[in-house]
Symmetry: C2
Subunit: 507 residues, 2 copies
């Protein structure tokens, strides 16, 4: 009685009926989570947590039904012959992968992980507020233990970290990621040192009184020009910016504003709009299936970084937008030149907090998290040694050491959520953004001139065609190689930052 | 695999596990509906409708499982011996009633009704916009046919209308309601005529420039004083005001403002807050069960009408609040006297639109809807004759005739939703509000003086104790009789309007 009835005798239709039920439950959970972060009064927290838990359990149950497996078996043979972007073949392939993964983890372990991460998240908030790592340590221990159990249940060839990374970046292995970070370390550590010795950039023009409502209007003017469709989305405020999709017709952004610093809210808006454009661009006919979202967190991040950095922090962009922004903030920006603003928006400075880091130092923050979490999962680092390792790694990579664990090892929520394997996707996406942008330039020509005119249609259209519309039909690495003709490497991005920041800092 | 697992061997715990799943799904649907009416971009409509349909189907399936019936059987005997407000006895009693009702309607009929009302709602919007009753008529025909089928499936003694009324006012029958409307007709028609011949009230002070944000602040100041808890709720804007609860800790109001008329938004805010106070006052230990909401739509309306009219349109209220409101609108209200404002807020005038009607004429609007929908369901009135009947009834009851169906028979959404039997609850609630308020006065004493001081704590506390906390443990009529010592009659309310409006109009 609890399974949806389908009158069709076609296995594909039957499969889609099950998938639609799971997708609707997941979308409902996404609405409830969005509301929790934006508008929910605090009195709603306890019930909301129970409601989310019920929806997630039911979505999992709908997706992992025996009937889904049987239908996938029925559909497997003909489908596997199709082209990799053929609809049915891709649906069966991706659904099977998700299904097998979901069935491998015992539901008791799923429940224990959910419970442990819920408790850990509360403990983390308190520990960060009190700068008390020891209060968080036992929760972290438990999450590491459970995550290792999960990795064992999922299976892996080289390292348990692979099994966890697969969750966020399907098809990518630790052995693919580690060499990228090695290159980044070799290239970036000396670059950061060279920048530190050069004449420093003055970003005073970004600091001052910037009314949040006026900031929001500026951000929305820009992302509307990018092509973000406010008929199919909206922007609200939350403590931490995020993007969430309830369907391709309803993709929502959130952001936050610092009334004394223009950079925080503006670039966060562009960043989230990059995610939003991806979700708005997924083909409608993938709706209510596992294909109807971005291919991976890494590829998602390539879109947000592309719009935030390659477009939004480019000189061409500010040629277009600074005159408009001056009209919104005449007192603050009336006398600021394009060159001064461009340099301010690209100031490099080693700092303690990842989410505030500039383009150059950002990947070093990610690198040390990748190395540390990998060591934790592989049992090469004990939780009690974590703060010391963190501080030493910060000193090695960036030459700065946090004065407190609150601004150090406790700054990110990811580990408190049991999200081991998530961090590297930030760097993978950043690295992907450059070859994608270069390929768009090669195909389209004149991107800089278009951006300087506020013409973003050709770029968006190119991304729609080559990336967005495919959803999860192809794995990120395959899609990237298909589009750019090359596998992912760190070099294009390294060349980009060397050139851009070499010019800014006169290296 | 789809049913929640319970390790407890206690039937009550097992029952609660099933009910909690159904309640969580219903709460999730309520969040999605709230979002749809407040913030959802238009592009989200199609997917949202599918998501709501899935959640409602799953909630229905969870609630009507065979296992629920078996557990109710297990629990029935000892429970039936308990006191009527005993927790377990009431839970079993109310759940069994809902369960049997839900199982009687075939799911194919539920689906056809949902589909037909979804289509009818769209058609009604267009028909109202185009003033084209004929375009809506076939949809209404279909909904009447399906509603009769539903009534047959549910069963009834006297009239199929009873089976439908039961949905909104459990335990109340057409034979209980009809005499109340007879009394109202006899009393109100001459009263309205007498008022029409008296010196008219000038409500010019309520018209003018009233900025919506300032209106909202005023409304929130008042409902906060009433005791509405913004830590457990919030107020947003929507096309039509409503109240919805996701838990007792998250009860949300919506309202709308007319920038040129103070009355619309202010009294709607007080009205919705009355609903909200009821939901915020339901005992926490009823959460996630069928008991965790108001006892009936009528009793709910008694709370909204009590705060809107008996408090909010009283002279004592304006003694307290007008000086505060003058500070918010010094230009508009600086020179308006308490007497003038009180009279303006109570202006009586026969009009075409129910939701804009004053206290005296309101019940006549409801009366004609009750009589018409009962005749439609009983087969005594054909859809083609509906506009003529409507206009004649308006002329009889109120002495005004709509110049268009848009302002006449097409004005309300209820019939387009298939909600036959809903309208009388508006009047039932209005009638209940007076004996409840009188009993509160008898128990507490000095209510008028408290209201004139802005002291609403004793009144709210009395309502909490006698009404709110019980949720659905008792049926509305029983609860009312228990609290006031008398069954519901129209006389107390008639006496109240005769006295109040006799004084205002010098009758």
């Amino acid at each position: 009685m609890s399974e949806p009835t389908s009158r069709s005798s076609e296995p594909l239709d039957q499969l889609k009926t099950h998938l639609a039920e799971a997708a609707d439950l997941q979308s409902a959970a996404a609405v409830l989570s969005w509301d929790q972060e934006t508008f929910m009064p605090e009195g709603g927290a306890a019930a909301r947590s129970r409601q989310l838990s019920t929806l997630q359990r039911l979505a999992h149950e709908a997706f992992t039904r025996d009937a889904v497996g049987a239908l996938l078996d029925d559909l497997a043979s003909p489908a596997e012959d199709g082209a990799p972007t053929d609809g049915t073949a891709a649906l069966v392939r991706v659904t099977r992968r998700d299904y097998e993964r979901a069935r491998k983890v015992p539901s008791a372990l799923v429940a224990r992980l959910a419970q442990a991460s819920s408790e850990a998240k509360q403990a983390w908030k308190a520990a960060r507020a009190d700068d008390d790592f020891d209060a968080f340590a036992p929760h972290l221990e438990r999450l590491i233990t459970l995550s290792r159990e999960k990795a064992e249940a999922l299976g892996y060839e080289d390292t348990p970290y692979d099994a966890l990374l697969e969750e966020y970046e399907p098809g990518t292995r630790t052995a693919d990621v580690a060499p990228l970070f090695e290159t980044l370390r070799e290239e970036l550590v000396p670059l950061v040192e060279a920048i530190a010795e050069a004449e420093q950039v003055d970003d005073a023009c970004l600091h001052g009184d910037f009314a949040p409502d006026a900031q929001q209007q500026a951000g929305e003017e820009v992302i509307r020009a990018f092509g973000y469709d406010f008929q199919r989305g909206r922007q609200d405020r939350s403590a931490h910016p995020f993007t969430t999709a309830f369907s391709t017709g309803d993709v929502r952004l959130t952001t936050r504003f610092d009334p004394q610093f223009f950079g925080t809210g503006f670039f966060a808006t562009l960043h989230e709009a990059g995610h939003g454009l991806y979700e708005q661009g997924v083909a409608d006919d993938l709706e209510r299936t596992p294909l109807a979202e971005g291919a991976s967190l890494g590829l998602h991040e390539s879109q947000s970084r592309l719009w935030e950095n390659l477009v939004g922090r480019s000189r061409a962009f500010w040629r277009w937008y600074l005159p408009r922004l001056r009209e919104r903030f005449p007192q603050q920006l009336g006398s600021v030149t394009e060159d001064a603003f461009y340099r301010a928006a690209n100031k490099v400075e080693p700092s303690l907090i990842r989410v505030e880091a500039d383009e150059v130092t950002y990947n070093l923050h990610v690198m040390l998290r990748f190395e540390i979490e990998r060591a934790l999962i592989e049992g090469r680092l004990a939780v009690e040694d974590l703060p010391g390792r963190w501080n030493a790694a910060m000193d090695d990579a960036l030459g700065v050491v946090p004065e407190s664990d609150a601004n150090g090892v406790l700054q990110d929520v990811h580990w408190a959520m049991g999200a081991f394997g998530y961090f590297p996707t930030y760097t993978l996406g950043t690295l992907m953004s450059v070859p994608l942008f270069r390929q768009a330039e090669a195909d389209l020509g004149g991107l800089d001139e278009q951006i300087a005119q506020g013409e973003f249609g050709p770029l968006l259209s190119w991304l729609r065609t080559h990336i967005h519309r495919h959803g999860r039909k192809l794995q990120a690495a395959d899609l990237l190689a298909r589009v750019t003709g090359e596998p992912l490497s760190a070099q294009p991005w390294v060349d980009y930052v060397r050139k851009k920041f070499g010019a800014i800092y006169g290296l």
